[in-house]
Symmetry: C2
DNA sequence: ATAAATCCTATTGGTTTAGTAGGAATTTAA
DNA sequence: TTAAATTCCTACTAAACCAATAGGATTTAT
């Protein structure tokens, strides 16, 4: 797994929305300004998060986004998988994004990377947005 | 960290050389054929491994490559860092390849990724080519 | 009506990845 | 002494990916 800006910005946006959960719909511009994210870039990420049912939106004036799930029901793993794909260090040991890669035939090598995959998934699966705010 | 073909092929080549440590210099074509690596691509990797002092070479007929270190003195971490850079999931938590990234200001978030970084480095640092052969 | 917002797709510029190409230099063996 | 086998080295390329930017369509509140 390699974090891209997409994932990092998406996490920051979710963290912001979680911290302002009670404030109704919040616009992209407010979040972008608060978290230092290019607004038009954030727009794409928000749309993806909405389509993946992490967010709800309202159009028009007074519109914006809000969380569609409780912060403790959004794991870092889900968000990162959405934007960056496999959590595993190489796809041949990925459960969700399997593809063949050269090291596959070396069992001892794949074992090492499976151990890493397991630690990473476990860690990101159990850590939620709720753990990150405050 | 995300493993590229470069790293994977390089590891396979080192594993092959470690398994044939007593057989003198071995040519790129032999390794490429045995491990299923595009030979001209492998050539570049071998050159990099040589410049990083993992390999010795001999030119000309009967030439080729051999390990310049014992297999138990070559960690997976060193090889992967050479070809793929940071082991950390994002550069803002990397000790060897630090760069600023968006999540940096969220301490709880960086903590999670530092934990991952620590597990991954520790694992790849302590696993050597010797552990992988046989 | 107008302004503010999301929705949606296309485009762009730069970088990285996974090679390929080809010539120069060196060594061995016939 | 010449040919073959090898490493050495750099440049090139095609495709994919990344980090945005652009701009129009739609919806809603005032």
């Amino acid at each position: 797994m390699k974090l891209t800006s997409r994932s990092e910005y998406a996490l920051l946006a979710l963290v912001y929305l979680a911290r302002h959960e009670t404030e109704g719909f919040i616009s992209i511009d407010v979040i972008a300004t608060a978290q230092g994210i290019p607004p038009k870039f954030l727009e794409q990420l928000m749309l993806a998060l909405k389509r993946a049912h992490f967010l709800r939106s309202a159009k028009g004036q007074k519109g914006g986004y809000q969380l569609a799930k409780r912060p403790d029901q959004i794991s870092l793993a889900e968000v990162i998988r959405l934007f960056d794909g496999a959590l595993a260090p190489t796809e041949s040991v990925s459960l969700n994004f399997y593809e063949s890669t050269p090291i596959e035939k070396e069992k001892k090598l794949t074992k090492v990377f499976k151990d890493i995959r397991d630690y990473v998934s476990q860690k990101l699966e159990k850590t939620t947005i709720a753990d990150v705010i405050r």
